[in-house]
């Protein structure tokens, strides 16, 4: 007689924990009941991200790289589970490799994107990249895993804290990924993943005054409205693709800071 499997309850990932939606609601996707995040879940996720931001941004680049590499390890270890909730093993392999690729950028960004600037005067002047802050990501619907990873990794490696809205139609991969994140060394709150309806969650994030940037790659027809709402606090808006891999994707979530100091005896 066959054994009755223990089913997983798909919950949100906020502040390093897996809460149910504050609303108590779920919606059905991919044959599962998935948490239907509410306005208050967005609020909580942004609070968690803001709280985690300073620590993550202040983590040495070398360590940030190792944390991301550890995430790749955790994903690899769960490759079968991940493959089961996305298009398959190829997508998982590519996602893991992408995380490894971005992990290596952590301690090279400043060298590639920064500069020392030869100003005409007795001043030393340099420009360094710094993370923007709290980044909201509206993940593309597909690929369910690859799309989210492609948007998440560049934001993370630069030192940002993220609130990501999972693929609405294929949210299970995001939750599976959250479990990998939770068991890696990514500090609590640095990544927060919400499942639910993008049309509800997107505008709240876009208008949120404590969110510094929004990635509208997965926003679809709502893009213009979200961009309009993003102007409320002059958010940086990233419009990427679901499958790109470039240091300039990281730059979308960075600020350039220039420092001057006199050179004198």
């Amino acid at each position: 007689m066959s054994r009755l499997p223990v089913r997983k309850t798909y919950k949100l990932f906020v502040g390093g924990t897996f809460p149910r939606s504050e609303s108590g609601r779920t919606y059905e996707a991919e044959g599962q009941n998935v948490a239907h995040a509410s306005r208050k879940d967005v609020r909580d996720a942004v609070v968690a991200a803001r709280k985690a931001f300073a620590g993550w941004a202040g983590t040495a680049a070398y360590n940030r790289g190792q944390v991301l590499y550890r995430l790749a390890e955790m994903m690899e270890a769960r490759a079968d589970n991940l493959a089961a909730v996305c298009s398959g093993r190829d997508e998982v392999d590519a996602a893991v490799d992408r995380v490894v690729w971005y992990a290596g950028w952590a301690d090279k960004l400043a060298q590639v994107l920064g500069s020392s600037n030869p100003v005409s005067g007795p001043y030393f002047n340099f420009t360094v990249p710094e993370p923007t802050g709290v980044v909201a990501i509206l993940a593309p619907d597909e690929p369910a895993l690859g799309g989210l990873v492609s948007r998440l990794a560049p934001a993370l490696v630069g030192g940002n804290a993220v609130v990501a809205v999972a693929s609405e139609t294929h949210p299970l991969a995001a939750i599976e990924l959250a479990e990998a994140i939770a068991t890696s060394d990514v500090p609590a709150g640095v990544v927060n993943i919400l499942t639910g309806f993008r049309a509800e969650l997107g505008p709240i994030l876009a208008g949120h005054m404590d969110v510094n940037a929004i990635d509208v790659t997965g926003a679809g027809d709502d893009t213009a409205d979200l961009e309009r709402a993003a102007a409320a606090n002059v958010k940086r808006v990233a419009r990427g693709s679901a499958d790109s891999q470039s240091p300039w994707e990281i730059a979308s979530f960075l600020e350039m800071k220039t420092v001057w100091h006199p050179v004198g005896q």
Binding site: S115, V119, T132, A231, W260
Partner: protein, 489 residues
């Protein structure tokens, strides 16, 4: 101890008026719009006067571009982009920019006088800062024009097309240079709208373009007011908008462009903290504070308008600062000895007055050195507010005038907390002799430019731009090219 006054017979020392010769600049009575390489009558048939804020005298009449004019300018720019400029050898493009840089240097005195007349800023600033830096920007970006693939390796940079550029009245020619130089170097053509109150140096620049034999339509300059800017922003034939100005208008532009895919850079307001620690080089810090807030009458988006002083030296520093203010000379912008010129416009003067009144009402203590304000024109005495609470409007809102708010702090953490407690994030200052503290503060300040033991320095090689509501994108340096390029990675 002998009192110094008894021992000496002091000499009355006055700087005689030393006005710069005004006849070096000859304004036309009327300026049309610079479209397709020539000054043309506006289709709007509308004109407006432009004045000297120091005397309120009319200097010239300029065209007020309407929707049709904007359309014509964008058309001219598109035509120039597609028929020559975008396919011109980059090295040739560079040479045009070098030519412009040289012409700006040659005509520097004329431009400085025009800038001071039309904008009210002291001639020593237009002469020593605005105009030389404007020329330097063209010189700097000229060199990039044929080296873009080295600036962005593996990215195959290409121009965007036509850029619409809207600039403010505080550094009219310099902001023009910040906008036009990188845009042209990257291979774009531009439609530039100068500020309503300060169109004249841009119109002289149009003549510089003529002298440089820049192909018609590569640079188009349309004068006008806010409505002209709105027409430009709404024009769907643009690939790029670059705006420097208020955060309020910046947000409106960002909303307007939502969903269009038009590239955008915004350089908006600020409320910079200038943080002074008790171990600083005090007399130089005083100079930095003065330069930070009274430079260009405080009409500077990155002005150090919030002075944060560590408590042990607060009293001493404020006493020294007040005495230093007594030596500031307010008056004729064309006088070489003038430190503080005229407020740029009546509207701006009224805004400054309103905010200063609110500061007094809220309980801050006001200090202004004795100084006689000219009867005609728009003037405001350099002002320091002490006993300012973080919650006062004068500590929160951008005043854009010669008004400093002094707050105190006890520890570095408190200084950071107060400095970052604002919606803005354009610039910040730190004064301390301790190297590790400088780097720590520079790291923790959420601002695009951090001046340590200096303030209000600018250079074409140095990227400039803000965090948070101070905007996005950078101007200056290699980073300043990126907003004008697309990449065929």
């Amino acid at each position: 101890m002998t009192d110094v006054r008894q021992r000496t017979s002091p000499l009355e020392w006055e700087y005689a008026p030393a006005p710069e010769a005004r006849d070096i600049v000859k304004f036309q009575e009327r300026y049309g719009l610079f479209i397709g390489g020539e000054l043309v009558e506006p289709r709007s048939k509308e004109w407006f006067p432009t004045i000297s804020p120091a005397t309120e005298e009319q200097l010239a009449e300029v065209a007020l571009a309407g929707a049709e004019d904007v359309d014509a300018a964008v058309g001219a720019a598109r035509n120039a982009f597609e028929n020559g400029w975008s396919t011109l050898r980059p090295a040739e493009r560079a040479k045009y920019l070098y030519r412009i840089a040289r012409l700006l240097q040659e005509r520097s005195r004329e431009l400085a006088v025009a800038e001071s007349l039309n904008g009210g800023k002291p001639i020593k600033e237009s002469r020593d800062v605005d105009v030389p830096l404007a020329a330097a920007h063209f010189f700097y970006y000229a060199g990039w024009a044929d080296k873009l693939e080295y600036a962005f390796p593996n990215r195959r940079p290409a121009p965007l097309g036509v850029a619409g550029q809207i600039i403010p009245w505080n550094f009219p020619l310099l902001m023009l240079a910040w906008k036009i130089a990188p845009a042209l170097a990257a291979g774009n053509t531009v439609v530039l709208k100068p500020a309503e109150t300060t169109p004249l140096t841009a119109l002289i620049f149009a003549d510089v373009c003529r002298q440089a034999e820049l192909p018609a339509g590569v640079v188009n300059i349309i004068t006008g007011d806010g409505s002209t800017g709105a027409h430009l922003v709404r024009h769907r034939g643009l690939d790029k908008i670059a705006f420097t100005g208020s955060t309020e208008v910046g947000k409106a532009i960002q909303r307007e462009l939502a969903g269009t895919g038009t590239r955008l850079t915004l350089e908006l307001g600020g409320k910079a903290a200038n943080i002074v620690f008790d171990d600083c080089a005090l007399d130089q810090a005083i100079e930095g504070i003065v330069n930070g807030i009274y430079f260009n009458q405080g009409h500077v988006c990155c002005a150090g308008s919030r002075l944060l002083v560590q408590e042990p030296i607060a009293e001493l520093l404020i006493a020294k600062l007040k005495r230093r203010l007594e030596t500031l000379r307010l008056g004729d912008p064309l006088d070489k000895n003038t430190d503080i010129g005229a407020i740029n416009s009546r509207a701006q003067l009224e805004r400054i007055r309103e905010l200063v009144a609110s500061g007094e009402e809220e309980g801050a203590e006001i200090y202004q050195p004795p100084c006689v304000l000219p009867e005609k024109g728009y003037w405001f005495a350099p002002t320091v507010f002490t006993n300012v609470a973080q919650s006062y409007r004068i500590a929160q809102e951008e005043i854009f005038g010669p008004v400093l708010s002094v707050l105190t702090f006890r520890t570095p953490d408190e200084a950071i907390e107060k400095a970052n407690n604002t919606a803005y994030g354009l610039s910040a200052g730190v004064w301390t002799e301790k190297g590790s503290r400088i780097l720590c503060m520079a790291q923790r300040l959420r601002a695009g430019v951090v001046w340590a033991n200096t303030f209000n320095r600018f250079d074409p090689a140095s990227p400039f731009g803000g965090y948070k509501e101070s905007g996005f994108g950078r101007e200056g340096g290699r980073h300043g090219l990126e907003p004008y390029l697309r990449f065929e990675e």
